[in-house]
């Protein structure tokens, strides 16, 4: 059991958990992730580590409600527990002095990009960060990113905050302005990472993406997270999660991530029904209590 020391929504549907996990806190390096299982009947899913505090023995996770498991997770509060957390998994990011690094975080992917941005800055790189969100509310970790970046650009799809457009629009601008870029790190939705890869491929800029395939054990045992890298199968959990963006077959990743769409939908519907049932029962109970007290 891993205790939730603090749980707070940082954006609509996006929650930050501070968890007591001393072993993981001690070992976590930028680029690594954890696998969690909420309860006895839960599935195992990989999640992003935002940062950790080895002294306090805590790990921060940033979770966006998408399917049943993430909704269930985001219903947990300070003081609750998560049954299993294992990690840190995957190879840490390669950190060295590249020169100028552009770190791109799309949506909740910003949380995964953050520790690598911080490490790149500390290694002496000039860090230009581009954060993107669908709208103002979904732009996360801007202040944190500002602390570890030389420059931060923010884009929103609807223009409700900062620049209207996509993160790739900003990247294109940088390239067109003749900004010297030695490394691009992109973490976010697959279409975003794919678009970044296409853009930098032409410019021959070294580009790293952090992939998020379906996983079970996270230790290389099941092979479910295999991704096609330059025609060869690699396991995201032990060979990744970071890969050379120009070698990744994104189409296969999209296709494999859709493998359980039907089941995921069904899980979500049943979960909603369950939650509504619980709410209805709770309000019925409250009404009964009120009625009884009124009678007194």
């Amino acid at each position: 059991m891993f205790k939730i020391l603090n749980a707070q929504f940082i954006a609509p549907g996006i929650k930050r958990f501070v968890l007591e996990a001393p072993r993981i806190a001690r070992k976590q390096r930028p680029g690594q992730f954890v696998i969690i299982r909420v309860n006895e009947t839960g599935e195992r899913i990989p999640l992003t580590i935002e940062k950790s505090d080895p002294e306090k023995g805590t790990v921060n996770l940033v979770v966006q409600s998408i399917g049943k498991t993430t909704h269930l997770l985001n219903s947990l509060e300070t003081g609750d527990s998560i049954l299993d957390i294992v990690g840190p998994l995957g190879k840490p990011s390669e950190i060295e002095k590249f020169g100028t690094a552009v770190v791109i975080g799309g949506g909740v992917g910003t949380a995964m990009a953050y520790p690598t941005a911080a490490a790149l800055k500390q290694a002496g790189n000039r860090v230009i960060t581009i954060i993107g969100g669908r709208n103002k509310d979904l732009v996360i970790l801007e202040p944190e990113m500002r602390e570890v970046s030389d420059t931060v650009f923010v884009t929103t799809d609807d223009g409700s905050y900062s620049d209207k457009g996509l993160v790739t629009d900003k990247l294109r601008q940088l390239i067109e302005n003749g900004t010297r870029i030695d490394l691009v790190l992109a973490v976010g939705p697959i279409p975003m990472m794919r678009a970044v890869a296409e853009m930098t491929r032409q410019e021959r800029i070294k580009t790293i993406v952090s992939l998020n395939p379906i996983m079970i054990d996270g230790t290389g045992m099941c092979g479910g997270c295999r991704v096609v890298v330059e025609g060869r199968s690699e396991f995201a959990c032990v060979d990744g999660p970071e890969f050379d963006a120009h070698r990744v077959d994104f189409a296969v990743l999209v296709q494999r991530n859709a493998m359980y769409r039907e089941a995921e939908k069904r899980s979500m519907e049943e979960y909603k029904r369950e939650v509504e049932g619980q709410k209805a029962a709770a309000s019925a109970e409250a009404e009964t209590v009120c009625a009884l007290e009124g009678r007194k």
Partner: protein
Amino acid sequence: MTTPPTPKTPPKKSSNPLPNKERMKIPRQNMLEQLPQVRNKEFTEVNLGYSTELARQEALRCIECAKPACVDACPVGVKVSDFVRLIVDGDYLGAAAKIREDNVLPAITGRVCPQEDHCEHGCLLNKKGQSLGIGYLERFVADYERKHFDVKNIVKAPPTGKKVAIVGSGPSGLTAAGDLVTKGHQVHVFEALHEIGGVLVYGIPEFRLPKAIIREQVDYMRAMGVEFETDVVVGRTVTIDELMEEEGYDAVFIGTGAGLPQFMGIPGEHLNGVYSANEFLTRINLMHAYEFPKFDEPMVDFRGKNVAVIGGGNTALDAIRSALRLGAGKAFILYRRSETEMPARIEEVKHAKEEGIEFQVLAAPLEFLDDGKGWLRAARCQKMELGEPDSSGRRRPVPIAGSEYEIPLAVAIMAIGTTANPIIRMTTPGLETTKRGYIQADETTQKTSRRGVFAGGDIVTGGATVILAMGAGRRAAKGIHEFLVSGEW
């Protein structure tokens, strides 16, 4: 320093009143089994075990050889003749205690050990007809013990003050842990997954080895004083060096199992519907995907579909029999050699056939074909014939030119073996490994190239059986004990 040899006493005779001639007239007793038509829809256990009467009848068949070859043939050295004698005498708990002297997981080996390759192969009766049902008897005794277990029966040496870390809670790790705790050492087992048991939990299906039994055997080990910690990937969560230098472990045993599933490297292996046997079985066994949506881990819909498992080992049979239980319309094994070369246990092949599994032998897939939407539609296969024996001693499959054919397929499960997991190798400096990435360990002491570090099981040998891994665990425990006592490497 070594432990003094136990004084040799002449083997005791049982109270069996029958002369050998009469004993040999008794036919081998079969276990009760669920009916094939019932069980192929259920995940409940296929074998139902012996009744007390059947067990006694079977035990009476033992001719009590002066030099019991069954004992020598056992990888962990279970004193078969002694425990069978105790069954004849009606002392079932005594029989269980006798097995436990050499084997801490009797209810597990009684179910999954290939006895026909070991003790029953050595049995003298085997040469004159059918061997003694040693595996069935072991299972009977272990199940009797499960119902009548008493913590008071646990005997342990006084504490030595030495700490041992066991990495991996599969058969080799559990065996080493059991032997070491009995010797008085403090034993802490680290497991990467959320349940204890390793391959016993994620690999072997409920219908062959119920999870409740593993839990009970693990609880027994807890009662013996073994500590367990789940959710720790040694190499990532903590390294071997940290365990020894910072957490005060005097010795470490690495029993992390074989690891990464192999694929064939043929086109279409990334299609949806193509699984590794490890993933498929983990979803079923560890994650209970067959109970979706009560459990959250999903599985593709198998109902009415064509499912093939590629491979001919026990894992292949576990996978295809599981597929059938998920409702597959047609479930078959695709194996490139003939049935004679299949590494799977005879009993499992028999069970699979009874349940309706088809065997397409001397055939292998060349390519998996897409339905246009990223899902598997069919496999293009090739027929084989047998050539000269290869390095494994089995006749090599040779493709027959022009024999390609296509079979419609919704799910394909690759059960063609595993390769070494790199995590420990990458994070433990000075640990020598073979070209193929397996850890190099001494064959008698299981010592590695690193002082205080031992290894055994599949991470040393490559994919093998539960009992061979247990044998390595025993040897390692002996090696570790000697190292801890003498301090000599």
